[in-house]
Structures are given as structure tokens and as C-alpha cells.
Symmetry: C2
């Protein structure tokens, strides 16, 4: 099917079918949802040949259309990648079902019982790029949390996604769940994404996954409430009292261990009085791992062969072995810098001063604030949530690493025995 094919089911019909499916899913027991997830994991591996054939078609189109090698790599599925996708689905089986969890409760003075419980959103929409792994990942997370999901993937992956959704729907049917619990709207092309963003009332929440541009477009245009996962211009501040060995290890880990992810360090701030002591060993260790240092003047005076930092460096999420480094006068100057340039993802202070640590934790307005720890810990898996839905940098609903619980809403259950209000 191509963008110009005639859709046999209308867009609104698909969303209405998702709503009906969501009613069934909302009360489906964890056993049944887990059986569906296990069936999906098996089916993804069993259908390897069919999936890879569709993927090869997308890759061939991509090469013809000049898709960059980076994007081609993200689009590519292999036997091994499908096995690891299936493994990830099986890991979601092992997680606790968030639906029905009691958040809080009380008995009112008149005897009325009050319980706030987690319930699914209903229908989740998601808009993402040509990464077929997201198709499996988000479908599994939505299913486990009792939500129907409507998928709009990048058009460069549409053949792969169509087969993946077929495979998922067959698995759903095999356990008796409605196939409309997982649907693609790729056949509506770009217009589908636009319509999804307008579908207030039919879609409960929209989760964009991908580049900052994609997320920003959805945030700006959507009339459906959005859960935003944002970019990370992440800071570490080396305070005057920072331990040298700790500073070296944490900065190295935060920058080098996996530079392409959002919790990796992008800007290092160093207290002026400790810079002569700390910067040479910290930067030498980074350089040994191939990191390019974008240095302000005071840093360049303490460490040779750096690149001069420009104003742009302070707001750049490199996602590579590059690091911006700036010497600041004191803690206040460090927090001023963070306030001006941070994306409010994760910031860490390395210090042995209790008062400075507490000020930093209290005053820095980011999703995750740390003392004496690597910023790489900002991660759903590391936090013990099991699954990685994404890292929210917005303040509404979810902030920081999102687990399955963040894919739910709540409802209040009130149990009376005839009480009326006086």
C-alpha cells in the first residue's frame, strides 16, 4: 500500500474502533494481557522472514530516496534485532500491571470509602520516525497498561510497520483480544499525523517519539494532550570541594559511557577556585577517550589544545564525544548558567559541601537533580521501573523517567451506603 492507496476504513472509523477496543482492554486481566504479549514475542520471531522482506523493501526505497546511512541503520531490522525486540516484550510481561493499583484512599467521616486507582488512559496516539523497533515497543507498553494504541510511524518504514502490526494483530486475535487494540494509520500518510493531532475526544493522549523537531511540531500543533519527551542539555557542576577521583570518574562516565543518549553529559561547569586542581585530570581522562573539549577562555588557559566554545555550544545537545566546558565563579553562577541553557532534564553537582549540595538540589529546576552521581542514572531501567517509556521533561502528569504507571490516569472510586451531602 502506498500513500495514494484508497483507505478502506476511514480515519475516524479506525479511532472509533480503537475506542471500542480500549473498553475491552481497560478491564482485561493481567493474565490475558500477558498472554497477548507472549504471543507477540513468539510471533515476531516466527515471522522473521516476512518482516525482513518488508524491511528490505523499505531499505531499498530508502536507498533510492537518499535516506542517510544513520537513518538506514535505525530502519534496519535483522534476525538478531528481532530476537532482542521479542526479549524486550517478554520483559514487559514480568512487570507489575499498573491498572488497578491503589494510589491513595481514605474513609470520610460519614463512612464513605474513597479510593484513587490507576486506570488506562484509553486510546494512546503515537507519532514517531522510521524506527520499526518503536512499533513493537510502544504497542507492548500500551497493551500492558491496558491502552489501545494508534501508531503513525515514519513513511520510510511503512512496509515494515504494516507487517509488524499484522503480526501483532494476529497475536491479539489468538488470545481473544480485539485486533483494533493496535492499529497503524500509516496509510493516511502525512494527513494521518495531522488528523491524529486534531482528534481530541477520540484520542486521550499523544506521545511523540523521536527528534526534537518532531516532538516540537507535535507539542505546537496538537489539540490532544501531549506527553513530551525532550532533549537533554545535561550539566555537571564541579563544586569547590569536589573530590578529584569522584569528579574524574563521574564526568567520564556521564560523557563517554553512551554519548548518543539524552542523559549523557553535554556541558561541564567548574568552580573557578577548584578549576586548576580539577580540570587537568578530568579533561585528560576525557581526551584519552577521544572527547573533543569546547572550552571557554578560562578553561583553555588551564588545558591545552581545546576548541574555542561559542555561544551555541552552551545549548547544544551534541550526542557525540564533544563536551562544552566553562569555568564559573561560584555555585550561583553555575545555577544561573543552568537556568539559562538547561533543557531541564538532568543536572548533577559533585561536592562535599552539604549546604551547596542542598541548595543545588532545591534550586535547580530539572526533572532529575543529583549530587555525586552520574547523570547516566536518569533512566527508567536504572530507576527500577523495568520499561523505558521515555524521559519526560515537561511538568504536567509525568516528569523524568516514565514507567508503565505514567501510561495511566486515575479514577476515584466512591463506595457509600446511602450517604447524601448535608
Amino acid at each position: 500500500m502506498t500513500d495514494t492507496a484508497v483507505a478502506t476504513t476511514s480515519f475516524v472509523e479506525k479511532l472509533e474502533a480503537a475506542r471500542r477496543a480500549s473498553v475491552t482492554l481497560a478491564t482485561a486481566k493481567a493474565d490475558l494481557k500477558n498472554a497477548a504479549l507472549q504471543a507477540i514475542a513468539v510471533a515476531v520471531v516466527d515471522n522473521t522472514a516476512r518482516i525482513l522482506e518488508a524491511n528490505e523493501l523499505d531499505l531499498a526505497n530508502g536507498r533510492d530516496n537518499g535516506l542517510s546511512t544513520g537513518l538506514q541503520d535505525r530502519l534496519t531490522l535483522t534476525d538478531a534485532r528481532l530476537v532482542s525486540l521479542a526479549d524486550a516484550v517478554n520483559e514487559i510481561v514480568a512487570l507489575t500491571d499498573p491498572v488497578g493499583q491503589v494510589v491513595r484512599g481514605s474513609t470520610l467521616p460519614n463512612g464513605v470509602g474513597l479510593t484513587q486507582v490507576r486506570v488506562p488512559f484509553g486510546v494512546i496516539g503515537t507519532i514517531y520516525e522510521a524506527r520499526p523497533n518503536v512499533t513493537i515497543d510502544i504497542a507492548a507498553l500500551a497493551l500492558k497498561s491496558g491502552n489501545a494504541v494508534v501508531l503513525r510511524g515514519g513513511s520510510a518504514a511503512q512496509n515494515t510497520n504494516r507487517v509488524l502490526v499484522d503480526v501483532i494483530q494476529d497475536a491479539l486475535a489468538s488470545v481473544g483480544l480485539p485486533v483494533e487494540a493496535v492499529q497503524t494509520i500509516d496509510e493516511f500518510g502525512r494527513d494521518g499525523a495531522k488528523q491524529l493531532m486534531q482528534a481530541r475526544g477520540l484520542v486521550d493522549v499523544l506521545i511523540p517519539r523521536g527528534s526534537a523537531d518532531l516532538i516540537n511540531t507535535v507539542v505546537q500543533e496538537s489539540k490532544v494532550p501531549v506527553i513530551e519527551t525532550g532533549a537533554g542539555v545535561v550539566h555537571v557542576y564541579l563544586d569547590e570541594s569536589a573530590d578529584e577521583a569522584m569528579a574524574v570518574e563521574i564526568v567520564h562516565n556521564a560523557k563517554v559511557q553512551r554519548p548518543s543518549v539524552c542523559n549523557a553529559l553535554e556541558t561541564l561547569l567548574v568552580n573557578a577556585s577548584s578549576a586548576p586542581r580539577l580540570l587537568p585530570p578530568v579533561l585528560a581522562r576525557l581526551r584519552a577517550s577521544g572527547v573533543t573539549i569546547h572550552a571557554d577562555e578560562r578553561t583553555a588557559a588551564l588545558f591545552a589544545d581545546t576548541v574555542a566554545a561559542t555561544e551555541d555550544d552552551w545549548s547544544t545537545e551534541y550526542m557525540s564525544l564533544d563536551l562544552a566546558v566553562r569555568v564559573v565563579d561560584d555555585l550561583d553562577a553555575a545555577m544561573d548558567h543552568i537556568r539559562a541553557y538547561s533543557t531541564h532534564h538532568t543536572e548533577s553537582i559533585i561536592t562535599n559541601d552539604v549546604a551547596n549540595a542542598e541548595r543545588f538540589l532545591s534550586e535547580v529546576d530539572s526533572a532529575v537533580v543529583m549530587v555525586n552521581a552520574s547523570t547516566r542514572f536518569t533512566d527508567g531501567g536504572e530507576f527500577g521501573f523495568g520499561a523505558e517509556v521515555g524521559i519526560s521533561t515537561q511538568k504536567l502528569h509525568a516528569r523524568g523517567p516514565m514507567g508503565l504507571g505514567e501510561l495511566t490516569s486515575t479514577k476515584w472510586v466512591v463506595r457509600g451506603s446511602g450517604q447524601v451531602r448535608g
Copy 2:
């Protein structure tokens, strides 16, 4: 000042000042915020003459401009109303500060300590109608929860609001808090509301208060995340096994006790087999209190002198002594009706059947679901939250009655001793 006056401070400058004030407020201790609230309560009463003079000017303009008597009533302040507004502010003093409350926490296997704590949003924007009580109310709630607030009230109340904000700002200054914690943008007229809805990044969350039209406009147009407080087309379903006395009392309380509020009953659904037993006493009691019955055919066959219900009645929030009544075949038909017409605010089942009660609580997708209780209990005060921020009918962030905690976000605080990720 009128709509055409030249603004001395630009719109963006005001929002930036609010942001700076929010940084101070975010770490202000409860003692200081409470002192500010107490100063506001005193100042509102002390400045009665000045406030009523401005209010009389707005009322005179309203009469000249043909403002309806209902809107004039909502606009009117009196000595007594100011005292009760001051009392309400003092009640907020007594509430627990939500900022710093620990939501959850754990120690990771590597010894890293993890705590999720409540923090203010930062800057709250609010758009409301010509009800000056909202000015005091929302300013006090925002202050207690550590947020700066930017107010856009209805232009018909702009003289009153300007004086109220002056009074609040003087009270803030008297305890040493920044006056920009509470600002009005009324001087920018309608354009101010539009700009506020575009101010993503400067304003963290927007809370519209008022009519369904106002809320819908904000929800549709805002690029800033919105907390929506919605209309209540509230249902009670009388099941086959409903106790007659309980049905009579709960339906009467839900409809009659305060018909003008969102948790009041609007549509009564009755199981067909119990309708001959229940409808005559239930409707007789309502009629004795002056309720007009908008009846479907099956209801009209059981109770004389009703008005014929039209399709529109099923989705009308009367907010008056009117009630739509429909006989349905069974629980499934009742839930189908609710699914089709509810605004997902509050629905209650009256029953003595455990299985039906549990199905209703589980399957009805509303902010509050009840068994054997009056829908009038859906209220922040009744739920023990102390303050009434509003009742959210959306699923993101807050659902149901909102207390001070719902005016906060969270942040993760991570305390390590040099841990890096392996």
C-alpha cells in the same frame, strides 16, 4: 486604565518577572507563604472601601453595556463577600504545604538514594471570567503551592481586579516576597489572553476557569499545557435491586441540594423492571422540590405531567431544577447511555447487587464513579483536600477534585557517593 492605555511593561517582561518571582517562591518556606496569605486576608478587608469603589465602577460600566443580571451578580462584591473571601484565604493557611512532600522513594542496589518530591510548576497562567472572587482564590492557591501566577480576568471586572492585585502585591511586599508573584495582564485586553496561550516556555501550565465555551477555547488554542476543569453531565443509575428509600434520598440530594454546580445530577437512568416501583416515589419527591422532569416515553407512562425529553436533553448540563429521566433495559444499556452522553465527571449506581456495583465502578470511565452515594460528594472539600482548585475531567496529570497537590509537579532527587553507571 482602559484597554487602549499604553502598557508600561511589556507582556514578555511581565512573564519574565513572574519567572524570576517563581524562583524565589519555589524555595520559600511555608511560614513565609502563610504570612503572605494572612497579610492578604487582612488587606482584603482593610481595603474594602477602595475595592468596592472599583467594583461599583465595573458594575456601572456593566449596566451601561447591558451585562446580564446573572453576570452582574457574579461581578458584585460586598462587605460580606470580601469577609468570606478573606476567610477562605485563611483556610488555605491551615492546609499542609504540598511543596517538598515525598511521593515515593527507594535506594537502588548500588546505594544511590532516589526520592520523588513535589515542587511547584513555576508560573501558572489563568484565564477566567468577570468573577473577582477567582482573582483572590487562585492567587492564594498558587501562592500556597509555591507558584507565581499571571491572571487574565474578564474585562468587565478589570477595575476591581486591578485594585485586588494591588492589594495582594502590597501584602506580598509587606512580608518580603516579590510582588511579581501575582500579576494581572488585563491591561493587554483580549490580546493578552491570546499571548498567554502562546507563551510556551514562559508559562508552565494554564488553568481556565469559567464557562464550557471559555474552557473549550483555551483547550483548543493553547500551546501551553492546560489543566481542564469540565462540565458535568452527571448520571445516577437506579439498578433493579436499588433500595427505594436510598434511591429517593440520593436522587433528591444529587439534584436539589445545589443544582447550579457541576456535581449536581442531570440525567437519571432507571432499570425497566424497577421503574414502576422506583420512579413514582423518586419523581414525586423531586416534584415537591420544584424539579421539572424531562421524561422519555417509558418514564412518562409511569409518571404524569412531565415534559417530553428531546435528544438534546441527554447532553444538557441544566444547572437548574431540571432533570432528564430515561428508562433503560439493563445495566449494559445504562452504561451505553453514559458512554454516549457523559462528560466523564461523576456517575453513581444505586444497587444492592455486588456484581453490578463492581461492573459499574470498573467499566464506567469517569473521573469519579460511585455506588450508593450522592454525586454531590465529588468535591475537594468533601474529599478532605481543604481547597477547591476545581474538578478535572481530563485524564492527564489530575482527574477529579483537585487539591493543592495537583498544582504541583514533581522532581527526582538523586543522592550518590560517587556512583557511575556500569
